[in-house]
């Protein structure tokens, strides 16, 4: 499977996503420059973490205007899998591919540490190999990870089973402890934790592999059909 890792000016987890998918998971990956619309035949798109455009104005607010995002939007509309981690999640929200917004952490400070997540749905290409309520240890590293949306939107997310992950011990004040959500088509995943940082036993946890492996299996299934 071939991953396309978007590089915005200020992306700084782009190489980690590339390393995780190629070296730790044995897949292919290509960097996609923000100023291009060429997805280079990628089967899945990763919007990596970092500080795209310095996070000026608001996190992700400028990145959503990048030419590559037009191509990503079309790719998602056609059902292609898109994953946004951390800053990538913020960009997906700004781009309207996911609902809601990410505000400053409740404690007003940047937080970097491994956290416990609970799997909230297994009904998605990113979570199909997980068990319901399974716990994963995956790091967070963000200053603006407090997920917020209108109550009606949150209710709808729950009604549609589109909450992918919840924090076991909410670190940032996110509404309903939401750590990651899915699009209505279930093919776009946004999450604040960094699964690409949990794919190598040397780094402590390999729970992030379960998310990538779910997608790789889902892809193998569709491409065999």
């Amino acid at each position: 499977m071939k991953f396309g890792v978007v590089v915005f000016p200020g992306s700084n987890c782009d190489h980690d996503a590339w390393f995780a998918t190629t070296q730790n998971l044995g897949q292919q990956a290509e960097f996609l420059w923000h100023d291009s619309q060429d997805l280079k035949g990628a089967d899945a798109i990763i919007l990596p973490g970092g500080f795209s455009y310095g996070n000026y104005l608001r996190c992700g607010a400028i990145a959503r205007f990048s030419p590559i995002m037009d191509a990503v939007r079309r790719f998602a509309q056609d059902g292609g899998p898109v994953m946004g981690f951390c800053n990538g999640f913020q960009i997906l929200c700004e781009a309207g591919l996911l609902p809601g917004a990410l505000l400053r952490n409740a404690g007003m400070k940047f937080i970097c540490r491994p956290v416990e997540l609970e799997v909230a749905t297994t009904n998605s290409p990113f979570t199909n190999e997980l068990s319901p309520r399974q716990h994963l240890t995956i790091p967070i590293a963000h200053g603006e990870g407090c997920y917020q949306a209108e109550e009606s939107v949150l209710d709808q997310l729950e009604a549609d089973d589109r909450i992918a992950f919840r924090y076991v011990d909410n670190p940032n004040g996110s509404a309903r402890s939401i750590a990651g959500i899915l699009s209505a088509g279930r093919n776009v995943l946004g999450m604040m934790p960094h699964p690409e940082r949990a794919t190598d036993p040397l780094m402590g946890s390999t729970d992030g592999r379960l998310i990538f492996n779910s997608l790789i299996s889902a892809y193998a299934l569709t491409s065999n059909q």
């Binding site: 000016p9 200020g10 700084n12 987890c13 190489h15 980690d16 390393f19 995780a20 973490g49 970092g50 500080f51 455009y53 310095g54 996070n55 000026y56 400070k109 940047f110 937080i111 970097c112 540490r113 790091p139 590293a141 200053g143 960094h194 690409e196 940082r197 190598d200 036993p201 040397l202 780094m203």
Partner: protein
């Protein structure tokens, strides 16, 4: 026009230095030239008070590819891969404006690394602040801590370099003079190394990165004076950092270096355009001619003086091969950055600065960079006012003492700080903050780099020479505890006013101590930084040399610091050691429990220390250490508690003639706690190295007992340790 004494001294030049300028030039300098001399001959840029003593430091080994004098030292780590690393201070700016002062400290040292072609992969910080509970200055100190930590967090996190560790100490002497020392380390291949040299007469000199503004003018000379009441007014001298710009600059610089069009490159740090032009020319033996009208500027009406002395951040100067300018422009424009030809390399050895064609400064590069005055300042005996003899003390509650020590500012958990640092980005950190050493694996090889920062102002105040040796030993021991072989060092020398002979004596003694220990432990110094005039209202800081030492190890899961399984034997490698009241006066126990300072630092036997470390590395490499933690602040009892904080404690019995306070809390070096399932093998290796290795007890669940004096649950010790810093900051 004739320059006045006031104008000369406003540039922090003495009259005799001015006379030297007159004789070098054979004429009066222009105002711009005076400004250029003022920064280049400042203590910060010229090391004029320390240079003759810095020559005593060892700088060579088989692994040293580049020693002091370049932007960073470079060490060969095998497999055609090298590392560049250095430490630098941003003390004065961090007091005046903590957030930007610390942030630009990180930015400056990162540029030193990537200007050589290396990609930064780790940052560490050694921080020292005034006490938070001081009734007069506590509130201000809290704001400084919060500002400095968020400044480091802001810059490093956005840039995308992990901040993997460091140290944080609170002491009254840093009340008006916090220390912010930032260490950075980068990695590259041998053929990717670049130097700050303006070679090739006729080659274009190209300015890249952020535009020049009026910020930071006189930063270097500000960093070379004592603080007074007027220092608060110096806020415009502090630069403003933009880590996003720096990230773009990093990527663009590394990309442009790959084109082959670049012949030399240097960052614009202290003294900005002035320092980069004359140093690049001086190193290459060439001249550099620039016209300021071509310098990208973000403010209008800037004078030549202001442009030359600006310390605007995120700027670089590079020399390209003539005819290949466009290749350079293409890369920088891709990253959305300014790039402009501002001058040319000449053959006359002069720095010639024009403004719209008119010459505003014309000086010899060598005079600026290499002929700065050199002072052999007089020194007497190191300043100290504390007694040699111990006060009478006797504890009635040793468990209580241990709890207080664990909750004290220097010993307590610093997770409030490092939680704010992205210490994992780049997915290389195998051992992060809070460990004895930080470890970062090198993806290009099958090896890892271990690094440790350490300082101890109290030890050095009591005896600068012995204190400095203890710091080197401690840093090396931190590395060895993780299984790494110490290979090279950088140092940051933070001292008071060198014009006071008793302060100069501290500096000389500390340098000689570092020289002796670094020679003995085979860790040459490849570069560093000297920060003098750390005084406020005539009160100097403790002499505070900070060492940063790096080590090499094969990549493997690192030996953790904390006990893993109950029922293991606990070996005190190196033995309980000797101490007496005199050598107890610099300990954390003396500071926290007795609130005083006396006597001498702990005694170090360097030969024994080296053998303990060799034994430790062999034990780690053979896989016999399930956990390992070196003894330092707070001695054995604190080390046992820290090793217990994953929930597996210890049941220890000490057989000693030492009085209990000393047995539990003395800080003698050369000691490492090892938990092991193979005590026989551990003792065998230790015996081979001639090292004591007593089995002092066993690991147990949930409890820490140090018979017959300490007995309590781990939770009771851990809670105050964990929460103390956050509570102190509120």
């Amino acid at each position: 026009m004739s320059l006045t004494l006031q104008e000369v001294s406003a540039h922090r030049l003495t009259w005799s230095e001015y006379e030297k300028i007159l004789s070098l030039l054979g004429r009066e300098p222009t105002f711009t030239e005076l400004g250029i001399f003022g920064v280049m001959w400042s203590e910060h840029c010229s090391y004029k008070s320390s240079r003759i003593h810095l020559r005593k430091l060892p700088t060579r080994s088989k692994l040293v590819l580049v020693g002091p004098g370049e932007n960073a030292g470079i060490i060969d780590i095998g497999d055609n891969v090298a590392i560049a690393f250095k430490i630098e201070s941003h003390n004065h700016p961090s007091f005046i404006e903590p957030f930007q002062g610390a942030a630009t400290g990180v930015g400056g040292i990162l540029r030193d690394i990537f200007t050589m072609g290396a990609r930064p992969i780790a940052v560490m910080d050694a921080l020292r602040f005034g006490k938070l509970d001081n009734s007069e200055t506590g509130q201000r100190n809290k704001r400084i801590v919060q500002g400095v930590v968020s400044g480091i967090s802001h810059y490093g996190n956005c840039f995308g370099v992990p901040t993997v560790g460091g140290e944080c100490v609170f002491e009254s002497c840093y009340d008006g003079n916090p220390l912010v020392n930032v260490f950075a380390l980068g990695v590259f291949k041998h053929d990717e190394i670049f130097f700050g040299r303006a070679t090739g007469v006729g080659n274009p000199v190209i300015y890249v990165g952020a535009k020049t503004g009026r910020d930071g003018i006189h930063g270097a000379s500000m960093a070379s004076e004592e603080f007074s009441e007027e220092s608060k007014d110096k806020r415009p001298n502090v630069q403003v950092g933009d880590p996003f710009m720096e990230k773009l600059l990093l990527e663009a610089c590394l990309e442009v270096m790959k084109t082959g069009a670049v012949v030399g490159i240097q960052d614009m740090g202290a003294a900005g355009l002035t320092c980069s032009t004359c140093e690049m020319g001086s190193r290459a033996g060439t001249g550099v001619e620039i016209d300021l009208k071509d310098v990208p500027q973000r403010e209008t009406g800037m004078t030549p003086y202001e442009i030359m002395l600006s310390e605007s951040q995120e700027r670089m100067l590079l020399v390209a091969e003539k005819g290949r300018e466009q290749e350079v422009f293409d890369v920088f424009h891709k990253w959305g950055l300014d790039a402009a030809v501002v001058g040319v390399v000449t053959d006359d050895g002069m720095l010639r600065v024009r403004n719209h064609g008119e010459i505003v400064a014309e000086l010899s590069n060598r005079a600026l960079a290499d002929e700065a005055p050199l002072y052999d300042r007089p020194y007497t005996k190191p300043h100290r006012t504390v007694p040699m003899h111990s006060p009478a003390f006797s504890s009635t509650d040793l468990t209580g003492d241990l709890t207080r020590l664990l909750a004290s500012s220097d010993v307590c958990s610093k997770s409030w700080i490092w939680d704010q640092y992205d210490w994992m980005v780049r997915t290389n950190t195998t051992l992060g903050p809070g460990s004895d050493a930080a470890i970062v694996r090198i993806k290009e090889t099958d090896s890892s780099i271990a690094m440790s920062l350490d300082g101890n102002g109290r030890y050095c105040y009591l005896d600068p020479r012995e204190g400095a040796k203890l710091i080197v030993a401690e840093c090396c021991r931190n590395l060895s505890t993780s299984g790494a072989l110490p290979i090279a060092a950088t140092n940051n020398l933070n001292f008071g006013n060198p014009e006071r002979p008793e302060i100069m004596a501290q500096l000389v003694e500390a340098i000689e101590g570092i020289a002796e220990a670094c020679t003995f432990f085979e860790t040459p110094i490849t570069g560093g930084n000297v920060s003098l005039y750390n005084e406020t209202l005539g009160e100097a800081i403790y002499p505070t040399p900070v060492m940063g030492i790096v080590g090499l190890l094969k990549t493997a899961a690192p030996v953790p610091m904390q006990f893993v399984e109950p029922g293991r034997d606990i070996v005190l490698l190196g033995g309980l050691g000797a101490s007496d009241e005199t050598h107890f006066g610099g300990t954390q126990y003396a500071k926290v429990i007795l609130d005083t300072l006396w006597g001498l630092p702990p005694q170090l036997d360097m030969d024994y220390e080296k053998r303990v470390q060799a034994a430790m590395r062999e034990i780690a490499q053979a896989g016999f250490a399930e956990s390992a933690h070196d003894l330092s602040d707070g001695g054995l009892a604190v080390a046992l508690a820290e090793a217990s904080f994953r929930g597996v404690g210890a049941h220890v019995n000490l057989e000693t003639s030492l009085r209990p306070e000393l047995a539990l809390f003395h800080e003698g070096p050369s000691r490492i706690l090892v938990s092991t399932a193979s005590p026989g093998q551990v003792r065998e290796i230790a015996a081979k190295h001639g090292v004591v290795a007593d089995v002092i007890g066993k690991t147990v669940k949930d409890q820490l007992t140090i018979g017959p004096w300490v007995d309590c649950s781990i939770a009771q010790l851990q809670r105050p340790w964990k929460t103390a810093l956050e509570e102190a900051l509120h």
